[in-house]
Amino acid sequence: MIVPFGHVIILAGLLFLMGILCVVARRSLIMIVLGIEIMLNAVAILLVGSSLLWQHLEGQAIVLFVFAIAAAEVSIGLALIVWAYRRTGSMDPSDYNLLK
């Protein structure tokens, strides 16, 4: 017996909310990508918890793919940030006004 499933949902929901806060409120591109990582981690916690609830391995399988996609996303995202920093010398998204 661990805990009611609702408490796992609350934990994952609070983590996801922190990720959204980080993406919306921070102004550095690196913190925005970190916020996406926090959100993906919250989803992974909820999937593993639901996999335990229904006693089925499907949730854990999806978490494996979430890990792979997070790794791909962060490598491409950080490469894009480095590229944009070289072009503009800034990491604030509101400074990217080349098309204005």
């Binding site: 499933f5 408490h7 909310l17 992974a44 997070a70 894009l80």
Partner: protein, 176 residues
Amino acid sequence: MTIYSIIFYLLAILILITTAMAITRRNLVHAVIYLIFSFFGSAMLFYLFGAPLLAVLEVIIYAGAIMVLFLFVVIMMRADTNDERLFAWRQWLPVAVFGLVYIAIGVGIITTEPNSRITLKTARAAPKVFGQFIFEHHWLSIEIVSLLLLVALAGALIMGRRSRRPSGAETTNGEL
């Protein structure tokens, strides 16, 4: 209140505190290191939920590879956000609106969902069983994901290459 629930609540508090510290730090290096602690807590939570293979992968991929990549970029670009105002005024409205809507929907879901009152039982998916399950039911997805990682590798390589100087024939016309 079993030993498992005590461990769960301790880990939950640890994860929430370290994540909250991470998203409010002005120094990016400190933020990344707090987040490493948060991911270690998540890995222990996975172990508690009976997923030892995923716990190991969380440490290797998230706390290891991804966070070290972040540290490299932060240090390489000398990213300094000390003059950053943490919550700019024009961003307060969307933060408040989305947060309140999200909390309202979440409370509604958790209170009405019948599954949320079921107490989780301890179980354990041995890595061997999990691996056999993955390669029996999701072998095509594994191949697609490995291809995706290859494409990401090539993409990061192309993006990270220093852009070449334009050749002389292009610049003599005055335009690029």
